[in-house]
């Protein structure tokens, strides 16, 4: 049985018309005066875009900040890998963009499963993010006149995406990291690198701190604070193969969940349509090819499943440009979820291409004819090189092969408008929370959300909580609860070491990923989910009996780190399937094949499912407790997404 306090979901949406809510919040929140800020300690776990920007800003405001990352340096966080860009409603191109349009596109893109008030705030602060990032030296792409350049991304009808070559995430993360580094140099932020948070400690009904494992020495330690922010990224690696960095994991979020933080919409996962297909069974990681390629590439498969000619020899009549055929108005730019499912159907139908018949073509031949090879090289040269390095094939001469892969997770820790979880004093930011993207995220909107949370939301909302604790002592690391949880975790890791089975953690992760991908991937149904719900616990039981971890626990041991992370993926995987099972509709990234229209499109059910599902930990991973937060739309009306 769980000993956590019972959960109530109060979204704390401020009063007033949608467009005024955020300003109303700011006008009415409780503040902590500058001299008192240093009396508060705030722990930030994770130093990606969300964490680094929060640490920099809170440190600068005067709070005592301690930032934790399992990486050797904050600059390694997975945010660094984002390629395409970041959205903002600047309307610099004068093409009709506005805060309202970005808000509406995000709600619609999320298939009407996100909270209006949060999304509106996101669109509002998007403009400040660009100002902030430019001021701190992010070298965004520019026009010859010296002004900022924009592109249209992921099928948006306006050009609102800011980018820095194909390295936008890198440049934004370096920007946020440098701001945090400045605060570290000034002594306002203390950085704990190669430290993994393994648990959350709550005392008297609120979050009191965290327990960490030092990856270098294997030592466990407690860290008390007035508030804790989890900015620990997404759980896309539950699928084992994904475009996420190898170390991305759910441990921080999951351990917080086990201590009372509700977990929302875990079944909302984004499968990105343009990744390089798997080459063999032992592959460890998949690579994303930027979505921008779809602006010029045409996607097709051979009409005949038994086709044996090479791509160039297949005449147009024997090709199926299926996206252009099914979605004539969006064509190759159809949204991610729609394109991914279409590719899966082609491959399932035997029309896949490549040695394993597990991909579809993304063909630049027409674009090269029209624009010349030089133009294509200028636009995509580095992506083409990357593709060639990985596959050994030259995409100027033969089409790329692509296939969908796990990329992003919209689900995450449930937070209210102030980004607080169901545990008072515990916050979640960036991809780790569930907040803004509903059932499907638009391209270039994750970077925007991470920076919005860290730079412009948390610094305001956190004082609203802290103010009440001024001059009241908080429990320190010698409190019994810290000691107890520290020792529970010491035992947990000792246990991984001592099982003495026959297989390393990677084996279990790969097998688990296969189950989740097969039954809770792009296409889900009741029978499959039931199967997953019985296979996952069986595999988890085997993990607990047959795991083998070699090496010691007093110096770095990557096998042991992995064991802890895989253990948590098992329980999360169960919850993903459970969530997918109860959501008897298709929406965004969640496609239940029982719920589709006659022509195979997602069939949403707004009458019964216009809510967030937030799960409470019951003490038994197989019996989570379901809660619902109704989504009330004041501003927008439900619409069926159509890209035909």
């Amino acid at each position: 049985m769980s000993t956590n306090a019972p959960i109530t979901l109060d979204s704390k949406i401020p009063e007033g018309p949608l467009a005024d809510k955020w300003q109303n919040f700011i006008a009415n929140e409780k503040l902590v005066n500058p001299a008192n800020k240093r009396k508060f300690k705030v722990i930030i776990v994770g130093t990606g875009l969300a964490g680094a920007s929060a640490a920099a800003t809170l440190g600068e405001l005067g709070y005592q900040v301690e930032a934790f990352t399992f990486h050797d340096s904050p600059r390694r966080a997975h945010s660094i890998a984002a390629q395409g860009g970041i959205n903002a409603a600047k309307n610099y191109q004068g093409d009709g963009d506005s805060i309202h349009r970005l808000f509406y596109d995000t709600i619609k893109g999320g298939d009407f499963r996100s909270r209006e008030a949060n999304v509106h705030r996101l669109a509002e602060v998007s403009v400040d993010i660009i100002d902030q990032m430019v001021a701190q030296g992010v070298p965004f792409a520019r026009e010859y006149g010296g002004l900022l350049d924009n592109r249209s991304f992921g099928g948006a009808q306006v050009s609102r995406t800011f980018y820095a070559r194909g390295q936008t995430g890198q440049q934004l993360l370096l920007g946020a990291y440098q701001q945090m580094a400045r605060q570290i140099g000034l002594g306002n932020v203390k950085l704990w690198n190669r430290m993994e948070m393994v648990d959350v400690v709550n005392i008297d009904g609120r979050c009191a701190g965290i327990v960490c494992r030092d990856l270098m020495t294997g030592e466990f330690s407690s860290h008390a604070a007035h508030a804790v922010v989890l900015a620990t990224g997404g759980y896309g690696n539950a699928f084992f193969l994904s475009t996420n960095a190898m170390a991305c994991n759910v441990t921080a979020a999951w351990r917080a969940h086990r201590r009372g933080a509700a977990f929302a919409n875990p079944c909302y996962t984004q499968i990105h349509p343009t990744c390089i297909p798997q080459a063999d069974d032992f592959q460890s990681k998949l690579t994303l090819m930027s979505e921008s390629l779809r602006n010029d590439g045409r996607i097709w498969v051979p009409t005949n499943p038994d086709e044996s000619r090479s791509a160039a020899d297949i005449p147009d009549d024997d090709r199926d440009y299926y996206l252009e055929r099914i979605y004539p108005s969006f064509g190759n730019l159809a949204p991610r979820d729609v394109s991914s499912r279409a590719a899966k159907r082609m491959v399932d139908n035997g029309q896949g291409v490549g040695p394993l018949k597990n991909g579809v073509y993304l063909d630049f031949a027409d674009a090269i004819d029209r624009l010349g090879e030089q133009t294509i090289r200028e636009r995509y040269g580095n992506l083409f090189d990357m593709y060639e390095r990985i596959t050994g094939e030259n995409p100027y001469n033969e089409p790329m092969r692509i296939y969908p892969a796990s990329h992003y997770t919209m689900g995450g820790i449930w937070v209210d408008y102030e980004l607080m979880t169901t545990v008072p004093g515990l916050y979640a930011a960036g991809e780790a929370n569930f907040s803004d993207h509903g059932a499907n995220r638009l391209g270039a909107s994750a970077l925007m959300q991470g920076l919005s949370d860290g730079y412009f939301v948390l610094p305001y909302t956190i004082s609203n909580y802290l103010a009440q604790w001024l001059n009241k002592p908080i429990p320190d690391e010698t409190h019994d609860e810290f000691l107890k949880i520290e020792s529970e975790n010491r035992d947990r890791f000792k246990q991984y070491m001592s099982i003495g089975g026959t297989r390393g953690p990677d084996y279990f992760h790969r097998e688990l990923g296969r189950i989740i991908w097969d039954y809770c991937g792009m296409d889900r149904n009741e029978a499959g989910l039931d199967k997953a719900l019985s296979e996952i616990p069986a595999l988890h039981a085997e993990f607990k009996k047959d795991l083998k971890v070699t090496g010691g626990d007093t110096s770095i041991n990557q096998t042991l780190e992995k064991a802890g992370r895989v253990d948590d993926f098992f329980e999360l995987g169960l919850l993903m399937c459970k969530d997918a099972l109860v959501r008897e509709e298709s929406c965004g990234g969640h496609f239940r094949s029982e719920h589709q229209t006659d022509d195979g499109e997602a069939l949403r059910n707004d009458d019964d499912f216009a809510h967030v599902t937030a799960w409470e930990w019951s003490g038994d991973a197989e019996a989570p407790i379901e809660h619902r937060e109704p989504l009330n739309y004041e501003e927008v009306e439900f619409q069926t997404r159509s890209y035909k």
Partner: protein, 256 residues
């Protein structure tokens, strides 16, 4: 799909910073040429664990050449034989059946060894903390298009900003100098209009922190050829000239 056979790995193993290091040989009877070098290490490690032996410790994360976490001397070359690529982007197809591949950690005084192939590169963070930023408190920024930046300037800044902080430059340098890294960080900010107010202060602080941790540059140029992002050595010239200017100005101020 072709398969390479009979690969011998000679891997550096060392229990800790003070331990005695040694090479250990591992046979890889078969590996797909589609696999990356690090995927081969994953496979070797999985086998080692199953055999009850300790896995080889190595740093890695994104596996797409952007996070700068991976770090290996492959056959004596930082990041191995593929030009303009990081270790994680080296694929087995660049090797041949029967090859022996030697894997060693970065070796430099500024990067103490942690274990096996992993080193501690946190001195890079110290250099950035010393001055690698533009002071711009959150919320106070003017509209982003207020200062137009000529495209060539912004492009040159971006060329330098592409540095992934992997440390190959230090590992390749006979003196273990960190000039390419530091100068890239400086050029990124010093070339931009926003970076001008702190240009001198920044340059002095970062160069001096660099000197505290790393060897001195004697223009070998090995750093540029090892750099997975092909960062230009011209940045070092810019750094040196900025450093002289700042020192000179400061001396004048002191003399006054």
């Amino acid at each position: 799909m072709s398969v390479l056979t009979n690969i011998t790995l000679k891997v550096w193993r060392q229990d800790g910073p003070d331990g005695q290091g040694r090479f250990e040989s591992h046979q890889v009877p078969e590996i797909s040429e589609e696999a990356s070098l690090l995927e081969m290490l994953d496979i070797v490690n999985e086998r080692l664990v199953e055999e009850g032996r300790e896995a080889i410790v190595f740093d890695h994360d994104c596996r797409e050449g952007i996070c700068g976490t991976c770090s290996l001397m492959i056959d004596g070359q930082a990041h191995g034989p593929t030009k303009g690529a990081a270790t994680c982007q080296v694929h087995m197809r660049v090797f041949s059946s029967g090859d022996e591949i030697v894997l060693e950690p970065w070796r430099a005084d500024g990067f103490p060894l942690v274990k096996d192939l992993m080193v501690d590169r946190s001195a890079f963070d110290r250099i950035v903390e010393a001055g690698g930023f533009i002071t711009s408190p959150t919320g106070g920024a003017p509209d982003a298009n207020l200062i137009p930046i000529p495209k060539p300037v912004s492009d040159a800044s971006m060329d330098a900003a592409a540095c992934i902080g992997c440390g190959a430059c230090v590992a390749a340098c006979p003196n273990g100098a960190a000039s390419l890294f530091t100068s890239a960080k400086l050029a990124h900010l010093n070339l931009l209009p926003q970076g001008q107010s702190e240009r001198e202060k920044r340059t002095e602080a970062m160069v001096e922190m660099m000197d505290d941790h790393f060897g001195s540059c004697t223009n070998h140029g090995e750093c540029e050829s090892a750099c997975p992002k092909e960062i230009s050595i011209d940045n070092i010239a810019l750094m040196n000239s900025d450093y002289l200017t700042s020192k000179f100005k400061n001396r004048k101020k002191l003399a006054r």
